[in-house]
């Protein structure tokens, strides 16, 4: 075979010009890129932009209505009563602060737990070990949330595993309460932190670590000055999950929280229990506002590209 055969006319068994595009297709004017983007975006935007945002908007509107306490009927009369109550009654402020603190604490605990294991997975483990670890981290996601929470309830109880383990050190289980809630939530959401941090560290070029140690930095210094700052957006990405999941939780806290209650309980009690959707909607504006502010702040770190 020589290259000259390429100049020969098409083989007789194929129609001449079979490899030329049919004229109709060739002449079709290209759609403008904007139009194409728009067409692609239409379904997801209808879903999220219209349906989901619409639902949120309807909820917000409901927050300005009120409810007949006895019949549970919603009365479509504009009122600021719900917000007035929300801001004047102390207990709601207490609960909001407590919820944010727990969400923040859970996030910090998860970040502290996730970072080393993600670092190990991404930069130390062999390819095989890495694969196994990814499975090991993902598997608990399939086990039921409730069952895991109850397992922690059993472990945290007076005669449970934790007090049994801690007894030799003269320590005891924290018992049911906010500490237990934090621990349980941190446990439940840990994979949601490990995965983005692992992905972020995977992307970190090895040459940067080498450069750091080449320039005289010990491992710990490299960790502090190069790895941590570069993994930060990924950690923040993970924190979006842990923070928001913790802020909205109301089940784990009833299982291990002792007498404690969080914002989620207030929303749940008002909508699921008292059937007071307007007040529940008003309470729900707190996590919505917090998350919007949170997202706006973390957007600068590039975290949203690291989810």
């Amino acid at each position: 075979m020589t290259a000259t055969s390429l100049e020969e006319p098409p083989a007789p068994d194929g129609p001449p010009g079979a490899d030329r595009p049919p004229p109709s297709r060739a002449r079709r004017r290209r759609p403008r890129p904007g139009v194409r983007t728009g067409l692609l975006l239409l379904p997801p935007m209808l879903w999220l932009g219209v349906a989901y945002l619409g639902a949120l908007a309807a909820l917000l509107i409901t927050a300005f209505w009120s409810q007949d306490d006895f019949t549970g009927e919603i009365q479509r009369v504009w009122t600021l009563d719900n917000f007035r109550q929300l801001f004047t009654i102390d207990v709601y402020r207490t609960i909001t602060v407590r919820t944010l603190l727990i969400a923040a604490l859970v996030t910090v605990v998860d970040a502290v737990l996730a970072f080393p294991i993600a670092l190990y997975m991404a930069k130390v483990a062999s390819a095989r070990a890495q694969r196994l670890l990814v499975i090991a981290v993902l598997m608990p996601l399939w086990a039921s949330y409730l069952v895991k929470a109850y397992a922690w309830r059993a472990m945290l109880s007076e005669n449970g595993l934790i007090s049994w383990l801690l007894a030799p050190f003269g320590l005891d289980t924290p018992g049911y309460g906010l500490v237990a809630t934090t621990v349980t939530l941190a446990y439940l959401w840990l994979p949601y932190m490990i995965l983005p941090v692992f992905a972020g560290l995977e992307r970190l070029p090895g040459s940067l670590l080498e450069a750091s140690s080449d320039l005289g930095a010990h491992s710990w210094t490299t960790l502090r000055r190069v790895v941590l700052p570069m993994a930060f957006p990924a950690i923040v990405a993970g924190s979006i999950f842990t923070f928001s999941l913790s802020m909205g939780d109301f089940i784990a806290v009833t299982i291990v929280g002792g007498t404690g209650q969080l914002l989620g309980n207030v929303v749940y009690n008002n909508v699921g229990a008292a059937n007071n959707l307007p007040f529940a909607a008003a309470v729900a504006t707190i996590p919505i506002a917090v998350m919007l502010v949170y997202l706006a702040v973390v957007r600068r770190t590039g975290a949203l590209e690291n989810l």
Binding site: F70, S157, I255, G257, G258, G272, A273, N275
Partner: protein
């Protein structure tokens, strides 16, 4: 009433006028299915345990396919009934009036329910299931909120609710209580007996001062509470691990715990207690009202009553069930003991028209109680 007596006068509920919902006049042919909203354990279809099944016989008998949805709290039941998707609901007293007032349920024509005649008389025409003498449902079963304690720890045996209120500090961090606004009534009941100055006559009819007193009592109690419970598992676990040693309970929980060899006992304290009496009610928007009536009749029949009562652990409304239950069961649950039943203040929805008949004050309603409960928990 004497010592207890959950509001004996039939018209005590302030004479509020329910919306005008037509009552079913005659039975027609079965619609082929029925949507049942029930407490877990009230309508078992064998899907969780093939041996526990009284829904399938119902389906066979009537040709109505039963779709069962369970709810965890009364409040959830109220919310779900508003959707109009359910034909029939097992409403506790703290839900029933709300359903009636909202027009979510229809008056029940008791003539169309054959087994109604056999229902214990002390369950008929009560505050929580009737308005102005019109029944809005068929009584199903009842029970008391008892005081359970760990016999190894709590000595001597308690006889008063005082051991979880004023005396709670003795068991600091080990007291438990029911997690619902309706638990405020337990505190009110205690105050009714021990602080006559508050002039509480019905724990479900509290003016704002009385409510405040109950809330204060509960806030003090909270300092000694380990946790509030709302499901079986949580409480049985807490008593078996020792995380809780004293607190309010249901008979069935005590029985399960004893079955697990947990050293506990449940008593009806001297003050009497709150309790529940559940009523099957028909949705005002029911698409399957014939099947719904068939269900109400079926579930209040002796066999179904016996099955439910034993599985769930409560007193059957139909005393004929006692012939079909295990020996001593009905005695243990005081099924036919009108005296015992009279000591119970059954859950009733607090409304602003005072249920005790007072006309000079506005009472606090369930919304106020919900808020108060949030504040109690802090």
């Amino acid at each position: 009433g004497t010592s207890g007596g959950g509001g004996s006068s039939p018209s005590a509920n302030g004479g509020f006028t329910p919306p005008d919902v037509p009552m079913k006049q005659s039975l027609g042919s079965m619609e082929g299915q029925v949507n049942i909203l029930a407490w877990p354990g009230y309508a078992e279809d064998g899907s969780n345990d093939p041996k526990v099944d009284w829904v399938t016989p119902f389906e066979k008998q009537t040709g109505c396919q039963a779709n069962v949805k369970y709810f965890g709290t009364s409040d959830e039941a109220v919310k779900l009934m508003k959707t109009g998707q359910y034909d029939v609901v097992s409403a506790s007293g703290d839900a029933s009036l709300r359903l009636i007032a909202a027009g979510d349920v229809a008056p029940v024509n008791t003539d169309l329910v054959k087994n109604y005649a056999d229902i214990s008389p002390f369950l008929k025409d009560r505050d929580w299931n009737s308005v102005n003498g019109q029944m809005y449902g068929i009584p199903h079963g009842w029970g008391a909120n008892l005081l359970m304690y760990n016999t190894d720890v709590v000595k001597p045996a308690p006889t008063s609710w005082g051991s979880v209120f004023t005396g709670a500090s003795q068991y600091a961090g080990k007291v438990t209580a029911y997690d619902s606004p309706i638990y405020i009534a337990d505190a009110a009941l205690y105050l009714m007996k021990h602080q006559p100055g508050l002039k509480i006559t019905n724990p479900y009819a509290l003016d704002s001062d009385q409510l405040q007193a109950a809330v204060d009592l509960l806030k003090k109690q909270r300092q000694n509470v380990s946790e509030y419970w709302s499901d079986y598992l949580k409480e049985v676990q807490a008593f078996s691990t020792g995380d809780s040693v004293i607190g309010t309970t249901w008979e069935v929980i005590a029985q399960v715990a004893q079955g697990e060899k947990v050293p506990v006992k449940a008593v009806l304290p001297q003050e009497g207690s709150t309790g529940w009496s559940d009523t099957w009610m028909v949705s005002s928007k029911s698409q399957h009202s014939n099947c719904a009536y068939a269900w109400m009749d079926y579930i209040t029949g002796p066999q179904a009553q016996a099955d439910v009562a034993q599985y769930f652990g409560e007193a059957p409304a139909n005393p004929k069930a006692c012939d079909l239950t295990a020996k001593n069961f009905c005695d243990a649950y005081h099924a036919s003991d009108a005296q015992y039943a009279d000591k119970i203040w059954y859950w009733t929805t607090p409304i602003s028209n005072c249920l005790d008949g007072r006309k000079d004050v506005q009472c606090t309603d369930y919304g106020d109680w919900t808020q108060a409960w949030t504040e109690v928990k802090g």
